[in-house]
Symmetry: C2
Subunit: 217 residues, 2 copies
């Protein structure tokens, strides 16, 4: 195998290192996080760091890059209003979603500028992304400063889930292939996945079984 | 769209809620984290929470479930020895990797019990997974207790990377499709992904371009 040692990693060109290190931990989730400022300005931005944190209470985390230099509108709006939505990116949305990582000024709505469909729902402060087949409303819970690199781990509680029909199994599982959800490889690679199998809960001295992939079963 | 409201989420059967909430944030990375205790007992366990945290220094995080009840050998070994490896799961490894989530006693090596290939490398304390096409050696950096649910966010620094031939592009990017890396849907769904496109760095007032997917280019 090819060996890239610590000294090599530290001395790499920064773009090369960014591409390598961003892809070496595996596939990432692909989400648009949307917020609305107290002044009513909408914001939507792509995040590949959303991670499941717990089911009860239902929580996820995301990583906010160090603040400053026009970065952090998502975080600021979330802290100010307490509300955010998570919206799955599909291949129809990929170009517009990727472009949302450009540093638009605070007063620009990326929904308008990038022609991303904005969906308002009664009783929800933050907007949703109309094209997303899985949409989640969430609230701010807390955040932790990662002092090693000044990133912020932001923790949110899921309050509401909206899904298109025919992607949920009887046991609750959402079929992300049927939902068309993308997955991210590195900084800029977009992929779609094909489910190979589901496996039963692992226990000592018990054989694994394959679960059905039929949403109607 | 189907709406699952906060009250519904809280009242769901716990297995149904686990399946739903684990899949609603999108695809997850699929890794085996391997450690060796100070007594020389090997441990390997599947994690779907590994997340890129930064490229310089090169760091990733993973979520350790609340300790106790036989949980946390990975975390304990990492804290005691400072060393860990991250190994990508491919479809050949999926059954054995999934089974590693069963709660084997501390004195059992999951490598031996589950016939997972153990690779020792000179100068590295923690073992690697032989079948993995992308293998990473890392060191303990710090951890943060997530007080909302007693999970622990563990932060590791990447020291060495081992990859099979022909999966890296000239700009550093690793082609996870070529590497055969799996991605996880929910608690128990395993998928393989097909790269659709890579897009250029997003800037204001600049058109996105598609990057080549040819590893030789």
């Amino acid at each position: 195998m090819k060996h890239i040692a610590q000294k090599d990693i530290e001395n790499l060109d920064r773009f090369y290192r960014g591409n390598l290190i961003n892809s070496v931990t595996g596939y990432k989730s692909a989400n648009l996080l949307a917020t609305r400022s107290q002044d009513g300005i909408d914001n939507v931005a792509i995040f590949s760091s959303v991670t499941h944190l717990g089911s009860n209470p239902a929580m996820f985390s995301f990583v906010q890059r160090p603040l400053g230099h026009g970065v952090g509108h998502t975080y600021e709006n979330l802290k100010a209003t307490g509300k955010i939505t998570l919206n799955h990116i599909n291949m129809e949305l990929v170009e517009r979603a990727h472009q949302s990582s450009a540093k638009y000024p605070r007063e620009i709505s990326e929904f308008e500028r990038l022609d991303i469909g904005l969906l308002n729902r009664n009783g929800f402060h933050a907007p949703f992304v109309k094209e997303a087949n899985i949409q989640v409303a969430a609230e701010y819970v807390s955040d932790y400063l990662i002092k090693e690199n000044n990133c912020i781990l932001v923790i949110c509680k899921i309050t509401d889930i909206f899904i298109i029909e025919n992607i949920q199994h009887k046991d609750g599982w959402l079929d992300l292939e049927k939902a068309g959800s993308a997955t991210i490889n590195g900084l800029d690679g977009y992929a779609v996945a094909k489910t190979q199998k589901r496996l039963s809960y692992a226990q000592i001295n018990k054989e694994l079984e394959e679960l059905t992939l039929d949403t109607d079963a």
